[in-house]
């Protein structure tokens, strides 16, 4: 069992941080969805708010770590001009070209939307704190933005997984 440095970074970028992102999103989304006055007691608001603040900041932090490692560590290996780089491999074959021209081109850009939106959500949740439950309109807007952050990261993640399957970074 052995992973090269490049494979290790690809695993950190895609699987370790990806799994943490999914976990943080699930917790944050459940917390935001159920933060409604008719469902939560006063005691529950305090407990849920703490969890929500931690969960949303965790998702934002993981999203930043994912795009930074992806763009500045993994991506240069992908786009290297070497003949055996994943990009060169994909572009050399008409059957795999779209994985780069559509998949990677979309992934590399859309991924950066996730941390920006997730940070706005985390800030807003932390700002209102236990008072967020009194602002149901804001809660709903935050839920939409949170899901949008997840969706953009999800698109990037799915393309990343498929591209790495077709043309792995070694």
């Amino acid at each position: 069992m052995h992973l090269t440095d490049r494979e290790t970074w690809t695993v950190i970028h895609g699987m370790v941080l990806g799994a943490a992102f999914l976990l943080a999103f699930a917790g944050g989304a459940a917390g935001l969805y159920s933060l409604r006055p008719e469902l939560v007691t006063a005691e529950g608001v305090r407990e849920r708010t703490r969890r929500l603040v931690v969960g949303t900041w965790a998702m934002a932090a993981v999203a930043w770590a994912t795009v930074i490692t992806g763009t500045w560590i993994v991506y240069p290996w992908y786009r290297s001009s070497a003949a055996d780089s994943p990009r060169s491999f994909l572009l050399a074959n008409p059957d795999t070209k779209s994985w780069h021209t559509f998949g990677m081109e979309w992934k590399e850009h859309i991924a950066w939307i996730a941390p920006i939106l997730a940070t706005a959500v985390a800030f807003s949740v932390a700002y209102y704190g236990k008072h967020l439950i009194k602002h149901q309109g804001v809660r709903k807007a935050l839920l939409v933005m949170f899901v949008a952050a997840f969706a953009t990261a999800g698109i990037a993640g799915i393309f990343g997984a498929f591209i790495n399957k077709v043309a792995p970074i070694r």
């Binding site: 006063a42 005691e43 608001v45 763009t71 850009h109 706005a120 807003s124």
Partner: protein, 125 residues
């Protein structure tokens, strides 16, 4: 006798419901700045496709290529917009609906700008 906060009370029955509200403007600044950051990313992605000169200029890092400039400028624009909006909106009474609409429009346009089938229509020869 004031309201009693007991473990089983719902929020509407507790002192929290009577506590003063927090103003909306910091959240408005965060939302609009996020939308602006996404919009800048979309615009830069499309403009870089339309102009080889811009694409070359955006290659702040040789190994990362134009993506380095697009993302660094977008993140910079987002931070500057957040600070600016926080100062400009401080203490103002802002319509949440307007903020959500403007943010939604900017995010949608930004998403469109990052979509390959869209920005490739502007590709320079």
């Amino acid at each position: 006798m004031g309201p009693v906060e007991e473990k089983g009370d719902t929020v509407s029955e507790t002192p929290l419901a009577q506590e003063p509200d927090r103003p909306f403007w910091p959240v408005a600044a965060a939302f609009l700045a996020a939308g602006f950051g996404v919009l800048v990313l979309g615009v830069l992605t499309t403009v870089a496709e339309a102009s080889a000169d811009v694409k070359d200029w955006l290659a702040f890092s040789t190994s990362v290529g134009p993506l380095s400039g697009k993302t660094l400028i977008s993140v910079g624009a987002w931070i500057v917009a957040w600070i600016t909006l926080s100062l400009a909106l401080r203490g103002r009474d802002i319509s949440p609906t307007a903020v959500y609409w403007w943010t939604g429009v900017m995010v949608a346009l930004g998403l469109l700008g990052t979509f390959p089938s869209f920005f490739e229509k502007f590709a320079s020869d």
